[in-house]
């Protein structure tokens, strides 16, 4: 699959989830118990269920569209939060060194030494799972990978001669960070972020599975898979469809970022490849 196809699929998906809620008859909350577990393309009480319906007879098209938006919103926001924190702390640690670096890297080690799932489970139990808390928590616990990469890059960038030149011209640390370090660190951060995005969607799904993710009646992709599990033999589409959406999103984002980096990487790789 090329980056182009991945982009097209993701584009269609995003367009669909924005457009569908605007259509009548796809209310993600409109229940009809008589239509429970309807399979795709069936008509119940005069209404066609294109992708079927869930336990409460809610139309799966509307549910999926909303769930995709929720999952994407959470993961994109969480990635943005963690990237912001990670980049900020990484830059500070790498640029200023000293006690700030020791402290920041100490916290990073600390956080790494407790698996993220456990932190999330423990803290969600305290603050209660809801959209905002979940997003914040996922964001706050995922910064370490950005922080480490940003720090490592900063350590080498700060010794680069264009930074030294700016320093001799009177540039303040803030100037150097803003004008030189940040722009040079960001492309790598975006690559890390594209990988994390998929991880976070999956992580949110796992939390939902453990009952600590998004709470009904709001759907998320992971929650929908989880809800559909016991009904796998009654209507497998309940979990297969959100599973497919997760796959398209996660694989799509990675293919795209892979595509962007691959151009450079491939050229580099084959430049010296073995005969």
């Amino acid at each position: 699959m090329s980056a182009g196809i991945a982009m097209a699929m993701l584009g269609c998906l995003i367009a669909a989830m924005i457009l569908i809620p605007a259509l009548p008859g796809y209310d993600p909350y409109g229940q009809n118990l008589s239509a429970g577990y309807t399979e795709p393309f069936q008509t119940i009480e005069g209404k066609l269920y294109l992708l079927g319906a869930d336990a409460l007879g809610r139309d799966l098209v509307g549910r999926l569209a909303l769930a995709t938006r929720v999952s994407l919103a959470i993961s994109v926001a969480a990635v943005a939060i963690s990237m912001t924190i990670g980049v900020t702390l990484g830059l500070i640690a790498g640029f200023f060194r000293g006690p700030a670096e020791t402290a920041i890297m100490g916290i990073a080690d600390l956080q790494l030494s407790i698996p993220r799932v456990l932190i999330l489970i423990a803290v969600t139990a305290i603050v209660g799972p809801n959209l905002v808390n979940l997003t914040l928590l996922l964001g706050l616990t995922s910064w370490v990978s950005y922080g480490r990469v940003a720090r490592a890059m900063t350590l080498s960038l700060r010794e680069r001669e264009f930074v030294l030149a700016a320093t001799t011209q009177g540039a303040s640390p803030i100037w150097n960070i803003r004008k030189h370090l940040l722009p040079n660190v960001m492309p790598q951060m975006v690559i890390v972020g594209s990988f994390e995005l998929g991880q976070i969607i999956i992580l949110e799904a796992s939390l939902s599975y453990l009952g600590l993710g998004i709470q009904p009646p709001l759907p998320s992709l992971g929650l929908m898979i989880s809800e559909g599990q016991t009904a796998l033999e009654i209507n497998p589409w309940l979990s297969v469809l959100p599973g497919m959406v997760i796959f398209i999103v996660v694989a799509g984002v990675q293919f795209i970022s892979q595509g962007f980096t691959a151009e450079g990487a491939d050229a580099r790789t084959s430049a010296m490849a073995a005969p």
Binding site: R160, E161, T168, Q169, A171, S270, A271, M272
Partner: protein, 678 residues
């Protein structure tokens, strides 16, 4: 020439570029006779390394391929062989010494095993013990001390010179018929370079191998080979015996290269610079590749229309130029021209002027605390250990020394990038260290810098305008007109403003860096190896530009370089550093014509001389530079000094005047002025 070891016929190599396949090497033919040393000279992008990789069968797959020609090694066409068939030749019949001895060894495998590998591959019957003995012998041959111990050591435990010796040992392990040395000394200091070249010669002598020496350094080929080929833009422009070419170059490009080198023997103020940029792959001119930069063929229809063929001027000297009959006359005209320009310039008088010097450095120390390599605690690295000198306005002060001598640390300390641990820096009469932060920052703006690496010194994400404007922006003096003016002054086209550094060649990038350094109207620019990574033709352009700017703006330069010829050419006064101290300082004519310190003498002796007829006294400095964390007691140079006496270990010699009130050297035996010989 009968029965050549290697015969390359009409070799053409294509590479994939952004715009499609392009010829990187075109129609290249040459022979290497048995036992001969053949030099291939060219600037970056000339296709010389690709040609060598093609001989080895090591061209990168996918992106590069040979589209025509033959490579006959001992009569067999290597291009017809498969990867596995070629393996029998590689390392056995033909082997290679690569440029960077650090990355060319596998960092996680002991050195002995890596050298032994080449023996094992081609002598599968050899026992482990035989392989081991062979490796130890080889290490001994190339002069690696204590080969038994080195056998077990890893590449990073070797110094650069030792690594390259090991590389040579590896290359000659199976007595190859042909040895290809691709820029074997480019990464090394001049004294080490001399050692390595000597080892290479010795190893060749022992194995009777033919050699191809690939280099951009004309001095190196002049000394080491019998015949050379000059490559440019993927073609051979001229080939013939070394003497013939250096004495009577037939191609204007060769003339240009020779004349753009700063030389000890001819003091001129302006170097001849080949104008323009080298012909890059995928962007080559029609007709003669060189015609856009050629001063001889200007305006000729032939030059623009048709690539000239290699034709013989004399039986052993071939030139590819439409106007090859006129080269000699044109070359003379250049010399006249340069001399005229030199006399027109107002040469600054070396030595201190009456007024106060611009920069005065007194007893400067920069020490670092580094973790001990073994055991606990930290130890002190005295990178700059009590250095004093002064730079006058409009003057160029040269600073030379091998890597690790502290010259760059000194420059960075002056710039405030390292903290001085002792001493004073007085700039324009004010002590930089004693000021508060913001005032000292103001003062430091009077001092700007141009670094060595044209790739690392420009932010790849900024465009050229922003890079040049940055110093102004930092100081809240945004001025787009000034940026345009600066770009114009350093010879950058106006349309460069919105392009990114990646689109520019090394020479152009250094121009950008210079424009940036000029932006704040500094009094002093520190040029930290600013021209060292440039090709000679470009280096000459940049040096000329620097001189021009100095004239125009009255700037002083601190010119840090390991290239003695360049320092000699640009400097009014010069200092030689060794292990954190200045060992000799004075007006550059005096230091270079009448060196007093044995180290200065050794440095000068190690520089390859262009003139092939002149045999210089080979004064090869033994050993490596000592570890600066634990320098020898007394005179730090004594461990490598031919004149060292037991008393040298006792005290550190002071700088003392040497026959001229401004010429100083720090040596106990220098005064006796003993001639150095080996």
């Amino acid at each position: 020439m009968t029965d050549p070891v290697l015969s390359v016929r009409n070799l053409t190599i294509e590479v994939m570029t952004a715009t499609g396949p392009a010829r990187a090497v075109e129609n290249v033919s040459f022979d290497v006779a048995r036992g001969e040393a053949f030099g291939v000279v060219g600037e970056s992008g000339s296709g010389k390394s690709l040609t060598m990789l093609a001989i080895m069968g090591l061209l990168p797959v996918g992106q590069v391929r040979v589209t025509a020609g033959e490579i006959l090694l001992e009569g067999r066409n290597l291009l017809n062989l498969s990867f596995d068939e070629l393996r029998a030749f590689r390392g056995k019949q033909v082997s290679m010494v690569f440029q960077d001895p650090m990355t060319s060894f596998n960092p996680v495998i002991p050195m002995g095993a890596q050298i032994g590998e080449i023996v094992r591959i081609h002598q599968p019957a050899a026992t482990a013990d035989e392989v081991r003995r062979r490796v130890v012998d080889l290490l001994d041959l190339v002069g690696v001390p204590d080969p038994e111990r080195c056998y077990r050591q890893y590449p990073h435990e070797f110094s650069g010179g030792m690594r390259q010796r090991a590389m040579i040992a590896m290359a000659v392990a199976n007595d190859p018929a042909l040895l290809i040395a691709d820029e074997p000394t480019t990464a090394l200091d001049v004294t080490i370079q001399a050692q390595v070249m000597a080892v290479l010669a010795k190893a060749r002598q022992r194995t009777q191998a033919s050699m191809i020496l690939v280099t951009h350094d004309l001095g190196l080929v002049a000394e080491s080979v019998d015949r050379i080929a000059v490559m440019y833009g993927g073609r051979i422009l001229e080939t013939g015996g070394v003497d013939a070419i250096f004495e009577a170059p037939g191609h204007p490009y060769t003339v240009g290269l020779l004349k753009s080198l700063p030389r000890f023997d001819r003091a001129v103020d302006t170097l001849h610079a080949i104008p323009g940029q080298p012909a890059m792959v995928g962007n080559r001119p029609s007709g003669c590749l060189f015609h856009p930069r050629c001063g001889l063929g200007e305006g000729r229809v032939d030059c623009r229309a048709r690539m000239p063929e290699l034709l013989n001027a004399t039986p052993a000297h071939w030139v590819a130029c439409h106007a090859r009959g006129e080269t000699a006359r044109w070359a003379t005209r250049i010399d006249v021209d340069l001399r005229q320009r030199a006399s027109a310039l107002d040469r600054a008088v070396p030595g201190f002027s009456e007024s106060q010097p611009l920069l005065q450095v007194e007893n400067l120390h920069t020490h670092f605390r580094v973790a001990r390599s073994r055991g606990w605690g930290r130890e002190v690295l005295r990178a700059v250990n009590g250095v004093s000198f002064a730079i006058d306005r409009r003057q160029t002060f040269g600073l030379v020394g091998e890597s690790g001598c502290g010259k760059s640390t000194l420059g960075r300390t002056l710039l405030g990038l390292h903290r001085a641990t002792g001493g004073r820096v007085v700039l324009a009469g004010r002590d930089v260290a004693q000021m508060n932060r913001s005032r000292s920052r103001d003062l430091r703006r009077m001092m700007q810098v141009v670094f060595q690496d044209p790739y690392a010194s420009l932010d790849p994400r900024m465009d050229i305008h922003d890079i040049v404007a940055e110093p102004l922006m930092i100081n809240e003096m945004r001025d787009d007109a000034r940026v345009r003016e600066l770009m114009d002054r350093v010879g950058l086209p106006a349309d460069a403003a919105r392009r990114k550094p990646a689109e520019f060649s090394g020479g152009q990038r250094q121009r950008i860096a210079i424009a940036r350094a000029l932006a704040l109207n500094p009094e002093l620019i520190i040029l930290d190896e600013a021209v060292s990574s440039l090709d000679v033709s470009i280096q000459a352009q940049v040096i000329n530009l620097l001189k021009q700017l100095q004239q125009e703006f009255g700037i002083a330069y601190l010119f840090i370089s390991h290239n003695l010829a360049v320092v000699r050419h640009v400097s009014d006064r010069v200092a030689v550093m060794y292990l954190g101290r200045i060992v000799e300082v004075g007006p550059s004519d005096l230091v270079f014509n009448d060196p007093r310190h044995p180290y200065t003498k050794a440095l000068l002796a190690a520089v390859p001389v262009l003139d092939a007829r002149r045999t210089r006294t080979k004064f090869v400095l033994t050993g490596d530079i000592p570890n600066p964390v634990r320098p020898p007691s007394g005179c730090a140079f004594r461990t490598r000094c031919a004149l060292a006496q037991p008393s040298c270990a006792r005290a550190v010699p002071e700088l003392t005047a040497q026959g001229h009130p401004e010429h100083f050297a720090a040596c106990f035996v220098a005064a006796s002025n003993t001639p150095i010989r080996t």
